[in-house]
């Protein structure tokens, strides 16, 4: 955290390669509260509606936004996010469209950190270097690539480093002490602790086990730690934000969008309001979690 705060100050002072993630985690620390990271899929159920939802997230209480990049074969995702990705692709979303969504969001918000999350193939097809430059220009702060472990990451990370985008890694209950240094070597921004072994949206984890695991990771790094997978309620969000530096909620938000759609999968009257209402509840929960 000390390192992160220092970086933030330096970056702000020079105005170059601004580090919104470091700034945000420093602010959370100053406010002595846990953060709320909200995942939403670009282009779900269509580009315009998804942008409206994204624009509403900061005011609803999201401290960091994870913007999903839809992929045809989301191997690590559960049914809710799989369906969201397919809806987005069907409505015409592409990786370029995702970057355009982010750029449109940035026109009205230059503060909220945005992390793009998805799978490697669309980025590989776009070209890693070209993607890094385009993502930075669009206002991207970090990247989570589910199927790019540290062993394969350098081919992308060299380009991200050059433009100042953090490559954020997941650590899981199976990431042992022997392996953690390999992950930390490539990691930036924050660490995403996946509290269960499984896919997104599965059952939630036992608090004590997560607390123990997070304490173990803290012994090795000063990076902020966000805890996610399986978090649905304000109470859970509060509990996990107390253990880590932030709680991540994805599938539960996406499920609110899913439930609001017409039978054909088109946006309904509540498609923007419902996920934002859940985010407000989650944010209220997290804000009770004084550290």
């Amino acid at each position: 955290m000390t390192a992160a705060s220092t970086t933030a100050t330096a970056a702000t002072a020079t105005g170059a390669a601004r580090d919104r993630l470091a700034e945000r985690f420093a602010k959370l620390k100053a406010e002595n509260r846990g953060g709320l990271v909200i995942y939403t899929m670009a282009g779900d159920p269509d580009a315009r509606t998804a942008l409206e939802i994204m624009k509403g997230l900061p005011a609803a209480g999201a401290d960091v936004i994870e913007l999903g990049m839809p992929f045809s074969d989301p191997m690590a995702d559960g049914p809710a996010i799989q369906a969201a990705a397919l809806r987005a692709l069907k409505a015409g979303m592409t990786l370029q469209g995702t970057l355009d969504t982010l750029a449109a969001f940035r026109e009205g918000d230059d503060e909220t950190p945005v992390v793009l999350m998805g799978y490697y193939n669309p980025i590989y097809a776009y070209g890693p270097q070209r993607f890094a430059e385009a993502a930075r220009a669009a206002g991207c702060d970090g990247l989570i690539i589910v199927d790019l472990p540290p062993e394969e990451a350098p081919e992308l990370n060299e380009h991200l480093d050059r433009v100042g985008i953090h490559l954020i890694f997941l650590t899981t209950p199976t990431t042992n002490e022997k392996r953690l240094p390999a992950v930390l070597k490539e990691a930036g921004g924050f660490l995403y602790y996946v509290s269960i072994t499984g896919i997104t949206g599965a059952a939630s984890a036992v608090e004590d086990e997560v607390a123990q695991a997070v304490a173990g990771i803290r012994a090795h790094t000063d990076l902020p730690i966000a805890v996610g997978f399986g978090i649905r309620t304000p109470e859970q969000a509060a509990a996990f934000a107390r253990i880590g530096d932030a709680a991540v909620v994805g599938s539960a938000v996406v499920a609110q969008i899913t439930d609001s759609l017409s039978a054909e999968g088109a946006a309904g009257p509540d498609t923007v309001a419902r996920p934002l209402a859940l985010v407000r509840d989650l944010a209220a929960g997290v804000r009770t979690a004084r550290q």
Binding site: S72, Q96, V194
Partner: protein, 408 residues
């Protein structure tokens, strides 16, 4: 990579790469498991007891060695090259898949795993996996796309009889790639007790090397058998390629024999020009899916597109990474055969040789017949008859526009 390779058989480097291809592109949850598997496999490879047990099972249970059969009537009908079939269709369970399953279940047992998962397309790998699970008393879950379940009903029932749970996959195109996605989701959830038996030379390292090693028994036997029959190495090898395990098994022991021409046959489906095919090497470009970098069928945005082949076992938008490498270095030629050509070859093999070949293997036979016609009579060709076609008779009846009950 140097321009002149001393060997094409060095396998993957220590990080699992075949040149640009291969690697370990998986979620972090799976990384420790894959590293553990690699360690266990290296230990097993160095353990004579492991090899002895595997050899015993291959001989006494699978029925190896499989014959190398001279297809005289087909040779005569083509009027050119001598065609030999490597009869993997005569293995227990009717295909080459069992060679790999036997090796992997022994590994699973060594690692103390108690639950086996697998994906299947045509159902041959599912049946082979269910079989070894019955043999070793392990719990078995098979993921299979709903589309494939419909076209491979006999194999689905066989798996159930063997005690496996067959889970229909309804996501995506409901075929092999989606079954693999679901199997990976299961594995990421049940990491501690579960072993994933991948059925082909694809997936994250060490699977492509490990599956190849268990399948090279095909090529090693064929090499010995053809030398006995002809007193020399063959002039050409032909095998079908979906993921590419039977092909890799046949090809690998011959890769350094420069005089042997090697041909892999992809599924051209309705024709390459229609876009409805499964020829990832001919019609795709490099990308990352299912744990490895390899040639993939994909759109401009990097979204994986649906493959098409009449053969469920070839209906996959990717291919094993070692094949991608062998294509790029130019050691193996890859060609493609359409649904129609495969069905024609299926019928010819049945009528001329009394062998009902799998639709997958029919692609190799179609290519072999095409080539044999133009080659001299002293050209010796070995074709991998990777599986038997009993499972495909419904599909063939449909393709012929016939009711199975009607007389031919």
């Amino acid at each position: 990579m140097s321009h002149v390779l001393n060997t094409y058989r060095a396998g993957a480097d220590e990080r699992g790469h075949f040149g640009l291809f291969g690697g370990r592109y998986v979620a972090e949850t799976l990384m420790p498991l894959i590293l553990e598997l690699e360690e266990a496999y290296e230990a097993a490879k160095a353990d004579p007891a492991f090899h002895a047990e595997l050899r015993g099972l291959l001989t006494n249970y699978v029925g190896r060695p499989s014959p190398l059969y001279f297809a005289s009537r087909m040779t005569e009908a083509c009027g050119g090259a001598k065609i030999y079939f490597k009869r993997e269709d005569l293995n227990h369970t009717g295909a080459h898949k069992i060679n790999n399953c036997m090796g992997q279940i022994l590994l699973a047992r060594r690692m103390g795993k108690t639950r086996i998962i697998a994906e299947t397309g045509a159902g041959q790998h599912g049946v082979a996996t269910a079989t070894v699970c019955a043999l070793f008393g392990m719990k078995c879950v098979i993921y299979m796309g709903e589309t494939d379940i419909a076209r491979q009903a006999p194999n689905v029932f066989r798996m159930k009889l063997l005690g496996a749970e067959v889970k229909p996959v309804v996501s995506g195109s409901r075929t092999l790639k989606d079954a693999m996605n679901e199997a990976l989701r299961d594995w990421v959830t049940n990491v501690r007790d579960t072993f994933y038996i991948i059925g082909t030379v694809a997936g994250p390292h060490p699977y492509p090397s490990l599956v190849r090693d268990f399948q090279t028994v095909i090529g090693e036997e064929a090499r010995e058998q053809i030398q006995k029959a002809e007193g020399r190495l063959p002039d050409s090898l032909v095998a079908c390629v979906g993921g590419g395990s039977n092909a890799m098994g046949l090809f690998h022991p011959f890769l350094d024999d420069k005089e042997v021409r090697i041909i892999g046959v992809e599924a051209a489906g309705h024709g390459l020009e229609t876009g409805q095919h499964a020829a990832s090497l001919t019609g795709g470009r490099p990308g990352v899916l299912h744990g490895n970098r390899t040639y993939l069928l994909q759109d401009a945005d990097g979204q994986i597109t649906e493959a098409h082949s009449i053969s469920a076992g070839l209906d996959y938008p990717g291919i094993g990474p070692e094949h991608s490498w062998l294509k790029d270095v130019g050691r193996v030629e890859y060609v493609s055969i359409t649904d129609t050509e495969a069905v024609e070859a299926f019928q010819q093999t049945t009528r001329l040789e009394g062998i009902i070949p799998a639709l997958e293997s029919s692609h190799a036979v179609a290519q072999a017949m095409k080539m044999a016609r133009t080659l001299p009579k002293d050209h010796v060709m070995v074709v991998c008859m990777s599986g038997r076609g009993d499972k495909d008779v419904n599909t063939i009846a449909q393709a012929m526009g016939q009711d199975m009950g009607a007389s031919l």
